[in-house]
C-alpha cells in the first residue's frame, strides 16, 4: 500500500494539477437544511481516496456534486482542472464519459442481461463493430471474474455478483475516475474481500483514480491511500488510514474504532430517565 509523505490537507490552486478532482469551499443545502459547509477536499490522481463518516453526512451527495448532477450553492467543484458548474451540457456529458460510478445496489438495467448491461455504454456512445464490443465486454467481465455469467439476467444475480457486473460496466469505457457509493454495503465477507481486491487492483492496473464513499472502516483502511472523515458537513480529519487511527479527535476515534458511545451519543436526546419513569402524569 502506498504511503504518502504528507497528509492530504486543504487543496491549493497549484496542487490542483495533481488532483483529478477537488472541492473548494463548497456549500450545499437541501431545502434549507445545510449539508456541506465550506468543504475542501482533494482527490489525488492515481490514488484510492476514501470518504468516510457517519450515516447521513451526505456522502452520496458529494459524489453527485462531483458528477455534476447537483450544483453547489457556493464554492467550486473542479474535475480534471475544469469547474463543473461552468460546463455546457455537452461538455458535462463528455466529462461523465470519462467517469464511472458504482451504485450501492448496482443499478443494472433490469430489461437487459449481464452482457448487454456491460455493453450499454459502448452501444450508446460508440459505433463499434460487434466483435470489438464482444471482446471489450468479455474482457471487463473477466476482470471482475464474471465472464461465465454473461447471459444471466440481473434478477438471477446475487447482490455481490450484481455489484461486480456494475463494476465491469463502470470500467468498460476505460474511465479516468471511478466513484464507488457504499460498495461494501450488505455483502458477505467473501464478496467484500472480492470487491476490496478489485477496487485496489483496478486502480493500479488501469492507472486510474478512485473515490470510495463508505463507512466500512476496516475494509477501506486496507486499500485506501488517503481518507477523509466528514461529520456535520465538514472535514474533521484527513490523512492515511494509519494516521487516522492515531488521530487525537474523539469524533474520529469513535468512528474508526466503532465505539457505541462518544461524541455521537448512544442515547437520542431524552428527558431524565428516573424522572420520566416516576412521573406518571406525563404521557410517556
Amino acid at each position: 500500500m502506498k504511503q504518502t509523505l504528507e497528509p492530504a490537507g486543504a487543496p491549493t490552486a497549484a496542487a490542483d494539477a495533481n488532483n483529478v478532482a477537488a472541492l473548494h469551499g463548497v456549500d450545499y443545502s437541501i431545502d434549507g437544511k445545510p449539508i456541506f459547509h465550506k468543504l475542501d477536499i482533494a482527490i489525488r490522481r492515481g490514488e484510492v481516496t476514501a470518504i468516510m463518516g457517519p450515516s447521513g453526512t451526505g456522502k452520496t451527495t458529494l459524489l453527485r456534486l462531483i458528477t455534476g448532477q447537483l450544483r453547489a450553492d457556493a464554492g467550486r467543484v473542479v474535475v480534471d482542472g475544469r469547474d463543473v458548474a461552468q460546463l455546457s451540457r455537452r461538455e458535462l456529458y463528455a466529462m461523465r464519459r470519462r467517469m464511472g460510478m458504482l451504485f450501492q445496489n448496482g443499478a443494472l438495467l433490469t430489461d437487459l442481461d449481464v452482457f448487454e448491461n456491460v455493453a450499454f455504454p459502448l452501444r450508446e456512445h460508440a459505433r463499434l463493430p460487434e466483435r470489438l464490443v464482444r471482446s471489450l465486454v468479455l474482457s471487463k467481465l473477466h476482470a471482475v471474474g464474471l465472464r461465465g455469467a454473461a447471459r444471466l439476467t440481473p434478477q438471477q444475480l446475487s447482490g455481490g455478483m450484481a455489484r461486480r457486473v456494475a463494476l465491469a460496466r463502470a470500467i468498460v469505457m476505460d474511465p479516468q475516475l471511478l466513484l464507488y457509493d457504499e460498495p461494501f454495503a450488505g455483502l458477505d465477507p467473501i464478496s467484500m474481500g472480492v470487491v476490496m481486491r478489485l477496487i485496489r487492483s483496478l486502480n493500479d492496473a488501469l492507472g486510474i483514480s478512485s473515490i470510495v464513499v463508505t463507512h466500512d472502516v476496516r475494509e477501506i483502511s486496507q486499500i485506501a491511500d488517503s481518507s477523509y472523515i466528514l461529520s456535520d458537513g465538514r472535514v474533521v480529519a484527513s490523512g492515511t488510514p494509519a494516521e487516522l487511527r492515531e488521530h487525537p479527535s474523539p469524533v474520529v476515534h469513535q468512528f474508526m474504532e466503532g465505539l457505541a458511545d462518544g461524541p455521537v451519543t448512544f442515547h437520542y436526546p431524552a428527558p431524565d430517565y428516573p424522572a420520566q419513569l416516576l412521573d406518571r402524569s406525563e404521557g410517556a
Binding site: T67, R96, R97, M99, M101, A107, L109, T110, P121, E124
Partner: protein
C-alpha cells in the same frame, strides 16, 4: 375554519404546480421525440409493451361490452319496436363514445400502470441516475420510447376494441335474439359515416397522448421508494380516468 380554506388553497396550488410540471414535461417529451423515433427499435419494443400485451384484455372486454350492448340495446329498442336499429345504435355509440373511452380506461389500467411502475422502479433503483452518469439521456432512452409506444398503440387498440365489440353486439343481437341480420348491417351502413369513424380514432389518439403522458410523468417523477412507486401507479390510473373523461367532453363538444 381557516384550516379548511388553507387546505383548499394548498391543494389548489399543488394542483397548479402539478399541471405546470406536466406541461413542461410534455414539452420535453415532444422535443426529444424526433430523435427518439430514429431509435425505432426502442419504440417498437414499447409498442409491444403497451399494445400487444394489452390485446387480451382489450379484446375480452370489447367482446363483453359488445355483448352487453347487444343485450341492453335490444331490450331498450324493443320497447319502441325498433330492434332493427340495434346495429346502427350500437355502432354509433361504440364509435363515438364507448370505444375510445373504455379503451382508454383499460389502457390506463393495464399499460399505464406498467409504464409508471417501470419508470418508478428505475428511479428507485438508481437506474435513471446511472444512465445520467453514463452520459445517456434517460428521456431519450426510456421515457420517450414509452410515450410514443403508447401513443401509437392506443388508436389501434381502440379500433380493435370497437371491431370486437361490434362482433359481440351482432353475436347477441342477431344470433341469439333474432334481430334481422340484413337490417342490422344495412341500417348501420346507411347511417354511419366516415366522419364517425374518424371521431372515434381521433379520440383514441388524443386519449392515448393523455394517458401515456400521465403514466410516464408519474413514473419518472415518483419518489424513489417502494411507496413512491405504488403511489405513482395509483395516481396514474386515477388521473388518467379523470382526464380522459374531461377530454371526452371537450372533444365531443368540439366535434359535434
Amino acid at each position: 375554519m381557516n384550516g379548511v380554506v388553507g387546505e383548499i388553497a394548498g391543494s389548489v396550488r399543488g394542483f397548479l404546480e402539478r399541471v405546470g410540471a406536466m406541461t413542461r414535461f410534455f414539452g420535453q417529451v415532444l422535443w426529444n421525440s424526433p430523435a427518439t423515433l430514429l431509435r425505432f427499435r426502442l419504440v417498437v419494443e414499447q409498442v409491444y409493451n403497451t399494445g400487444a400485451l394489452s390485446l387480451v384484455i382489450i379484446m375480452t372486454c370489447g367482446l363483453f361490452v359488445g355483448m352487453v350492448l347487444g343485450l341492453q340495446g335490444h331490450d331498450l329498442l324493443e320497447r319502441f319496436g325498433s330492434e332493427d336499429a340495434l346495429g346502427v345504435g350500437a355502432a354509433l355509440s361504440l364509435l363515438k363514445e364507448l370505444g375510445p373511452v373504455v379503451t382508454a380506461l383499460l389502457f390506463a389500467g393495464r399499460a399505464g400502470t406498467a409504464l409508471a411502475s417501470e419508470l418508478g422502479l428505475m428511479r428507485a433503483t438508481d437506474q435513471i441516475s446511472a444512465m445520467e452518469i453514463m452520459a445517456v439521456d434517460p428521456m431519450r432512452r426510456v421515457v420517450v420510447p414509452r410515450f410514443l409506444g403508447g401513443v401509437i398503440a392506443m388508436p389501434l387498440l381502440t379500433a380493435i376494441f370497437i371491431a370486437v365489440a361490434l362482433y359481440g353486439v351482432q353475436l347477441i343481437g342477431v344470433q341469439l335474439l333474432g334481430v334481422d341480420q340484413g337490417q342490422f348491417w344495412s341500417q348501420m351502413r346507411g347511417a354511419v359515416e366516415l366522419g364517425d369513424v374518424n371521431e372515434g380514432l381521433i379520440k383514441g389518439f388524443v386519449f392515448g397522448i393523455a394517458c401515456s403522458l400521465i403514466a410516464v410523468f408519474e413514473g419518472y417523477n415518483a419518489a424513489p421508494t417502494a411507496e413512491g412507486v405504488g403511489r405513482a401507479t395509483t395516481r396514474t390510473v386515477v388521473v388518467s380516468a379523470v382526464v380522459t373523461l374531461v377530454l371526452d367532453y371537450i372533444l365531443t363538444a368540439l366535434m359535434l
